[in-house]
Amino acid sequence: MLNTPRRGERLLALIVLAAVLFSPPLVLVFDRPATGPSWLPLYLFAAWGLVIALAAWLLEGPSGPRE
């Protein structure tokens, strides 16, 4: 699963990225406009989808060992 050290490092970096994307400083940035529907839900789904796509690419990608 994590046979190469690079894969482990990349996955860790992805986890950090996900944690940052899902947490306040960035979340606050997307919580606008003040009037009208907020962009926040849209942003969350987009970030979520991005993280999942990266994880799928990382864990299933051709560079990985297909066990």
Binding site: M1, L11, I15, F22, V27, G36, L40, F45, L59
Partner: protein, 912 residues
């Protein structure tokens, strides 16, 4: 179509289908063709995380608190991304130690402590039963909504006796299901294949149902997302509910909820059950770690549209927890509401099934069994009798847990909204996370620290969430919420120590985890571990080391007979036979001492059935002496990790060494080659010098000794001597040139010159000689002028050499040589070709080697004597000169005459 009869038929028909699927799954497992051996099924079974609380409650939460419902699913997404590190380690530990539940896991980590296991089981029971009640309540409410619509559901619920409550009967059917498929094996660490297959199927059903409502809402009730959100934007009151302002506690509440969901996902008993205990193959984690988050995205995609649509169409008066049902009902649909009801039912039942199995295992293995073992009366039980007892206990526990859940739902369930109960349970489960996670990575965590941390965390949880909840249900006087108990304001449950303005869950999580982690770490630092604790701590923290503890470390003494009797009593004859079967090919002699490996296997088997604390007690009851050599385990573990580190470094060093020696070898090889070339060169030079010298000497001796030679002969001999002397001096000149070239001391005098003029001059110089040999020389010079930078004398030497060579190798009968000069990009190419036999492709580079002489095919050296032969140095020298001037010299196929073609390329001189 929404008559009670139809609804009940469909609902119980669906439950019957679950029985069929589970039975099929178990049948396939017995045949060895497992249904659940795929990462996709594993990911779907993890989706038991999405309960009725997700199915109905997410929409309710979205209407009230905006996007904060998503945090319940973003936390698990983070946890699943960590799965290849964290959950993989948990799975490995669980399979090595035959862990049956999270209580067993924590008890095993802290020295197989039965009291700690009991504590965890108790907390789980208190914290999770309301959650089961919540699922039953969801079934009751959704059924009432379905049947009574458009009448409000609650109106009739209160007056009904329990036998009219459908969830009571659903709970009964589930009890039968769980007893049938959850207690098939005595060994609780074994997988429940049928149950997992049914859970995976239920995950598909609830997803399909929810997506159907979502699509219906978005595209049938409204004309797509644009229409819906256009109307939301038009209503400022609704639009404001999508932002962070709607989230309780703002940014702090946001982070708190994220952490809460992250920890709860790992520590909820049912998640531990599907993630760790039911894991078939740890490689499935890779797929599940992105597939399960994808499932979460899918099931949450339509929550906001449904919530907004519900608010737009039904308004605030309606119960938002039921929007999923009331929206399709309001459109007078028949089939869709029924599908939704089944979806909610599947979400509720899957959670109840897995949670009940996990809790009943904890109750039987961590609470009841240790008590029974303590009474000693059981030890006198007959063959296999206790195996039956154990399953019986588990079955009774299942019924009791479901009953407890039902009672909770019937008595106080109405006071809470769905989401509130869910989050209170989450916060309770979070209390297990420190003992579990810190214990997996910090070897120093001790049993006392874990126990005190758990107790303190749970007390804080009870004070800040559970008891206030009771108070709000009207069970207690709610006054202490505002003023604090006995007027102590700093003890107010929702503002402990005066921390105000936080949402209640983040507040509770902060204080409970602070107490929990603080005591766990603090007490651990100041308390000692028993030897067994040290061993278990080492086995847990070092679980990812390969080849860990292959050797058996049992050193106690017992006879095979005693061991057999013990296993017989607790596991039954069949299981005992299996354990002994792989062990002995030889005759079973019950008097002989049991092998250490056998004792280890016996303890493992007992652990799988009874939990490892009880297993340890039982094994110790028959094994004399220290059963486990703890000292040696510890030393092996320590050496293992040290050795691994040393090995790693050694390997690194040896790789470096190998690389260096490879480089040295290559350098040595090159030096040898150069040495060989030098020897060859010296030999060749001597040989080449000797040939003319010999003939000079021979003719000179003839002239000296034979006075009577005729004049013309004498003149001819003198002529030969002169010619050979010239050849000798030319040769020496060439060798000197070569030496200068190779040592880099060749002095060139580069100047701007016209290659056209130089070429013509060279042609004139050799013209006479070529005519003598009968060589027809063609000249084709395209450009008017060809300015290059070069040494004119040396370049002329090269061109003459090329022409001379071409003449020598041209066809014998009708020799032709052609010199051409063309411009090629910003270079000039001077090519000299002949109509000789040409040079084979593999020979083309070799003609530039020193002293290389081309053998004409079919020509003996004697026959060549008549032809002017070269020294074999002309081409190497020419190439050296051209290279010095920044050009190239190579051989190719002659384009016009068909023989060899030597091409000299020089860069065009920059415009002056």
């Amino acid at each position: 179509m929404r008559s009670d009869a139809v609804v009940l038929t469909v609902a119980f028909g669906y439950l019957a289908l679950l029985f069929v699927i589970a039975a099929w799954g178990d049948r396939r497992a017995e045949q060895g063709r497992s249904l659940i051996g795929s990462p996709t099924v594993y990911a779907l079974s993890i989706a038991v995380y999405c309960t009725a609380w997700t199915f109905y409650g997410s929409v309710g939460r979205a209407t009230q608190f905006g996007p904060s419902f998503l945090l319940i699913y973003l936390g698990p997404t983070l946890a699943m991304l960590l799965a290849p590190f964290l959950i993989r380690k948990m799975v490995r530990i669980a399979s090595a130690q035959r862990i049956t539940s999270i209580a067993d896991f924590i008890s095993a980590r802290y020295g197989k402590s039965s009291s700690l296991g009991a504590l965890v089981a108790l907390i789980a029971l208190i914290g999770i039963t309301p959650y089961i009640a919540l699922q039953l309540k969801a079934i009751t409410v959704s059924h009432a909504v379905l049947v009574n619509y458009p009448e409000a559901a609650e109106l009739r619920l209160a007056d009904e006796p329990f036998w009219a409550d459908k969830s009571f009967w659903v709970a009964l059917v589930l009890a039968v299901f769980i007893i049938l498929f959850g207690t098939r094996h005595l060994d609780a660490s074994e997988r429940h294949e049928g149950m997992v297959a049914a859970i995976a199927f239920e995950s598909l059903v609830k997803l399909a149902a929810f997506l159907s409502v979502g699509v219906f809402t978005l595209f049938v009730l409204f004309a797509g997302p644009g229409d819906l959100f256009g109307r939301v934007a038009a209503s400022p009151e609704l639009a404001g509910r999508l932002g962070l302002d709607a989230v309780p506690g703002g940014a702090t509440g946001w982070v708190g909820m994220l952490v809460l969901a992250f920890l709860a996902f790992l520590a909820l008993p049912r998640q531990f059950q599907v993630l760790v205990v039911e894991n078939v193959d740890e490689r499935h984690l890779a797929r599940a770690s992105w597939l399960f988050p994808l499932y979460l995205v899918a099931i949450n995609l339509f929550v906001i549209p449904i919530a907004m649509a519900g608010l737009l169409l039904a308004g605030d008066a309606a119960d938002p927890d039921s929007f999923v049902l009331t929206l399709p009902l309001s459109a007078d649909l028949e089939g869709l509401p029924l599908l939704v009801f089944i979806g909610g039912l599947s979400a509720a039942t899957s959670m109840v099934i897995v949670e009940t199995i996990a809790l009943s295992t904890m109750v039987s293995n961590q609470l009841v069994m240790p008590l029974l073992l303590r009474t000693r009366r059981l030890h006198r039980g007959g063959r296999g009798e206790l195996a039956g007892w154990l399953l019986g206990i588990r079955r009774v526990a299942i019924v009791l847990i479901l009953l407890l859940g039902y009672l909770y739902h019937a008595l106080i369930g109405d006071a809470y909204s769905l989401v509130t109960i869910g989050l209170v349970s989450f916060a309770a489960a979070c209390q297990f996370a420190p003992a579990m996670l810190i214990g997996m990575y910090w070897r120093g965590a001790t049993r006392n620290g874990a126990a005190l941390g758990l107790i303190a965390g749970t007390l804080v949880w009870a004070w800040t969430l559970l008891i206030p909840g009771f108070a709000q249900s009207g069970w207690l006087d709610a006054g202490f919420l505002e003023q604090g108990p006995w007027g102590l304001a700093w003890l107010r449950p929702y503002a402990l120590f005066g921390l105000e303005g936080w949402d209640i869950y983040t507040h509770a999580l902060l204080w409970s985890l602070t107490a929990n982690v603080g005591l766990l770490v603090g007490v651990s630092l100041f308390s000692r571990q028993s030897p067994l604790e040290q061993t278990q701590a080492a086995l847990f923290t070092e679980a990812m080391h390969p080849h860990l503890l292959q050797t058996s470390l049992w050193h106690g003494q017992t006879s095979r007979g005693e061991l057999r009797a013990l296993l017989d009593r607790y596991l039954g004859a069949a299981a005992t036979a299996r354990i002994f079967a792989d062990q002995d090919g030889e005759a079973p002699g019950d008097e002989r001492p049991a092998a250490p490996a056998l004792i280890a296997r016996a303890e493992q088997a007992l652990s799988g059935a009874l939990g490892n604390a009880s297993a340890r007690v039982l094994i110790n009851s028959v094994v004399r002496g220290e059963a486990l050599d703890l000292e040696s385990i510890l030393s092996i573990l320590d050496t293992t990790s040290e050795t691994l580190e040393v090995n790693r470094r050694l390997e690194q060093q040896s790789q470096e060494l190998a690389r260096t020696s490879e480089e040295l070898r290559a350098a040595n090889e090159r030096l040898r080659e150069l040495d060989r070339l030098k020897d060859e060169f010296v030999a060749m030079v001597s040989h080449e010098l000797r040939t003319p010298l010999t003939s000079i000497r021979a003719f000179a001796e003839i002239l000296r000794d034979s006075q009577a030679l005729p004049e013309e002969k004498r003149a001819h001999f003198l002529e030969v001597v002169v010619k050979e002397s010239q050849r000798l001096s030319r040769l020496i000149e060439e060798i000197l040139d070569l030496a200068r070239l190779e040592s880099g001391r060749l002095t060139l005098d580069p100047q701007r010159l016209d290659l056209v003029a130089l070429a013509r001059h060279s042609v004139d110089a050799v013209h006479h000689m070529q005519e003598d040999r009968g060589v027809a020389l063609e000249v084709a010079i395209a450009p008017q002028a060809a300015p290059v930078v070069g040494d004119p004398d040396r370049l002329e030497q090269v061109i003459i050499n090329l022409l001379d060579n071409a003449g020598k190798f041209a066809d014998e009968g009708e020799p032709r040589v052609r010199l051409s000069l063309v411009r090629h990009k910003d270079h000039y190419r001077l090519a000299v070709e002949d109509n000789g036999p040409g040079i084979a492709a593999e020979e083309r580079e070799r003609v530039f080697e020193k002293f290389h002489q081309i053998q004409r095919p079919g020509e003996s050296p004697e026959k060549r004597r008549g032809r002017p032969s070269g020294s074999g140095l002309g081409l190497p020298i020419s190439r050296g000169i051209v290279a010095h001037l920044g050009g190239r010299l190579w051989v190719e196929e002659a384009p016009h005459l068909g023989g060899a073609c030597l091409v000299m390329e020089l860069p065009e001189a920059p415009a002056s």
